[in-house]
């Protein structure tokens, strides 16, 4: 273990932070020029629009080299970069965590999308193109101080601790004003945010599993039937 003894780690406890990352792009219409046809924003936000700066210290967006200062470091929420341009390219989004959370950064990759899927339709200035992806950061072995600091924070899923386990009281006092600023509930683009629900996918998966299990059971019956038949053939009696 590389961390010092005071930060003890617990087994089989994971903290996960649901995230949504992606971009929103507006066509500039009349104001569009050849090199600045769209105005776009690439961002990382909490999936429930809560404040992820409790975990994330800074986010580095690596844009295409044709942009000025293509390495954009955002140290405060909301973690986003707005630019104007014409091209679609891959953006590397690197999340840096607070020191008690994790030393290593984590990278995401997002392909900037400006043009709508339906290529034949006319471009409109009113509705932006929105592409969002859902993912979760998993911390498989969080240290105690991290656990203590974030317990009850709405931005992440806190694990159930083993019974009798008591976390020390959090050392930092949450600054309410800061917390409010960090969440994206009142974001200007918030109306376009997708709400990801696991319910549909779970339903789909459960139904699929049911079907597969039914088939498995049936096949097992058939196989044992066949084997029974083979046995009787071998012994020479009629089935």
């Amino acid at each position: 273990m590389t961390k010092s003894d005071e930060k003890k780690k617990l087994k089989d406890i994971e903290i996960s932070v649901p995230l949504v990352y992606g971009n929103i792009a507006y066509w500039l219409g009349k104001k569009a020029s050849e090199y600045q046809s769209h105005k776009w924003t690439v961002y990382v936000r909490g999936a429930t629009n809560e404040d992820i700066s409790v975990v994330i210290k800074k986010v580095v967006f690596q844009l295409h080299s044709s942009f000025n200062n293509p390495t954009r470091v955002i140290e405060e929420p909301p973690f986003e970069v707005s630019e104007s341009g014409w091209g679609e390219f891959e953006i590397a989004i690197t999340l840096h965590f607070h020191s008690d959370v994790c030393d290593k950064p984590l990278s995401l990759y997002h392909h900037l999308k400006l043009y709508p899927e339906d290529e034949s339709g006319p471009l409109t200035m009113k509705k932006p193109v929105v592409v969002e992806h859902y993912d979760e950061i998993v911390f498989p072995d969080p240290c105690e101080s991290f656990l203590a600091r974030v317990q009850n924070h709405p931005a992440l899923t806190f694990p159930r601790l083993p019974s009798g386990y008591n976390l020390p009281a959090p050392m930092q006092v949450d600054d309410n004003g800061k917390k409010k600023r960090g969440d994206t509930k009142d974001h200007s683009l918030g109306q376009w945010f997708t709400s990801f629900s696991e319910a549909d996918e779970l339903l789909q998966l459960a139904a699929a599993r049911q079907q597969v299990q039914a088939h498995i059971a049936k096949l097992r019956r058939q196989i044992s039937l066949l084997e029974g038949q083979n046995q009787t053939i071998k012994t020479g009696s009629d089935p």
Binding site: V131, P140, Q204, R209, L219, I223, Q229
Partner: protein
């Protein structure tokens, strides 16, 4: 060429027949060799056609000596700077125009020797006495004398050394004495820094280990070689699986790099290659989980990918494709759109179940095949093309109203969109009896 010369030397008479034969064959060869500057073989390679451009400049070839020079060979005494004694030797010398060649004997420059340092008695007492007191002064003196005589060829020195010492011990003593001597004599430590003896000091144990390893490689039987190759392939596979973990690896990861040829037989750490596929998969899952833990942070989609790979590692590509096809037929996203922990766990379980199903299908076919051979017909006809779920869209049990969240107006990506065929529940068509 050979034939006539040999006969000449032996003084045998040359039979006229053989002579004419030789003469005949030679002009033939001559004509083949005719093209100047290329050997016969190369000429044949190019198809027996003369090159368009001369490949070798004719002037680079051996020229006949110019006619104005008179060359004679004389038996003359030779002086060489390499010789320190007074021995007078003679040899044939090519004399041109009555002027014998000047200059040193041409091979004298190759008389190189090693600079073995000589120490005085004082120096010995001050710096060079062996701390472990195995080496006495006499022994060290003898060693150095032999080193000089034999140009540091330690195997020879070891052979000649009056006391029996191993080559490594001799080397160690020589190098440490020389090193100490260099340090003692140097004006400043800086000028020594680049001396090879200081930069890379001789290490006796490493030398021994290296020689032992080499001899082990040499003495490996073919059987062991094969086993080693197998184990290395297995190790490679395992290290590739753990590649991500390796970057953040903690020292207690079992060190698979030790599987060099140094100890081929002591590889009890690796699972035997004969482990049954199901247990191997369990080991894969466990090791994947372990390697994910060691990352300290990862994306859930990445974690799922790793687990799926672990599940697929024991099966072939065709089976993997079939699993994916089945997932599609069932209407499940190959990569979950909302990868929460529950969703990912369910997804993985579903994949495992599909694998079980495919295995059972295979088993069923085999037992059906054998029962066919017995002359009876099995109860069920085959499902067409192994795609159990192909022609039926499935019911999801109940109607699925997609609840739209308030304020969702945008054309954002939906987590899943049902296709129209899924709306009506339909019975499974796979053969029911």
């Amino acid at each position: 060429m050979g034939g006539t010369d040999a006969k000449d030397i032996l003084g045998l008479p040359k039979t006229p027949l053989s002579l004419t034969q030789e003469k005949k064959s030679r002009p033939q060869k001559e004509s083949h060799r005719k093209p100047d500057g290329i050997s016969r073989e190369v000429y044949a390679l190019t198809g027996g056609v003369a090159p368009l451009m001369p490949s070798i400049d004719v002037t680079h070839l051996k020229r006949p000596p110019p006619h104005d020079e008179k060359v004679a060979w004389q038996w003359l005494p030779v002086k060489s700077s390499a010789r320190k004694d007074d021995l007078q030797l003679y040899h044939w010398v090519r004399v041109v125009n009555d002027v014998p060649p000047t200059g040193d004997y041409s091979f004298a420059k190759y008389n190189k020797s090693v600079d073995v340092l000589k120490y005085t008695d004082d120096e010995y007492e001050n710096h060079l006495t062996d701390p472990v007191s195995v080496w006495t002064k006499e022994e060290t003196d003898q060693l150095f004398e032999l080193c000089e005589r034999f140009d540091l060829r330690f195997t020879v020195i070891a052979d000649r050394f009056p006391l029996s010492r191993t080559v490594e011990e001799l080397k160690d003593r020589y190098y440490s004495v020389t090193r100490a001597l260099l340090r003692a004599r140097a004006q400043s430590p800086a000028e020594l820094a680049n001396h090879p003896l200081i930069k890379e000091p001789y290490d006796m144990t490493r030398d021994r280990e290296r020689k032992r390893a080499l001899s082990m490689v040499l003495s490996q039987s073919r059987h062991q070689e094969k086993k080693d190759a197998e184990i290395l392939a297995e190790a490679k596979r395992i290290t590739e699986m753990r590649l991500a973990a390796r970057r953040a690896a903690e020292p207690d990861v079992p060190a698979n790099e030790n599987i060099g040829s140094v100890s081929p037989s002591s590889n009890s750490q690796l699972p035997a290659t004969a482990v049954a596929p199901s247990t191997l998969t369990m080991a894969d899952y466990a090791s994947t989980l372990a390697s994910l833990r060691m990352l300290h942070v990862y994306l859930r989609t990445y974690g799922l990918e790793q687990m799926v790979q672990a599940a697929s590692s024991a099966v072939g590509l065709r089976t993997i494709k079939r699993v994916e096809q089945t997932l599609q037929d069932l209407g499940v996203n190959l990569k979950p759109k909302v990868p929460t922990k529950t969703v990912c766990d369910e997804h993985l379980e579903l994949r495992k179940e599909i694998l079980t199903l495919l295995n059972l299908q295979k088993q069923y076919k085999e037992s059906e095949g054998s029962s066919h051979r017995e002359g009876t017909y099995a109860a069920m006809p085959d499902t067409p093309k192994d795609r159990v779920f192909a022609s039926e869209p499935f019911s999801f049990g109940a109607e699925r109203p997609i609840k739209k969240e308030p304020k969702r107006k945008g054309p954002g990506r939906r987590s899943d969109t049902p296709s129209p065929a899924h709306k009506r529940p339909r019975k499974l068509k796979a053969s029911d009896l």
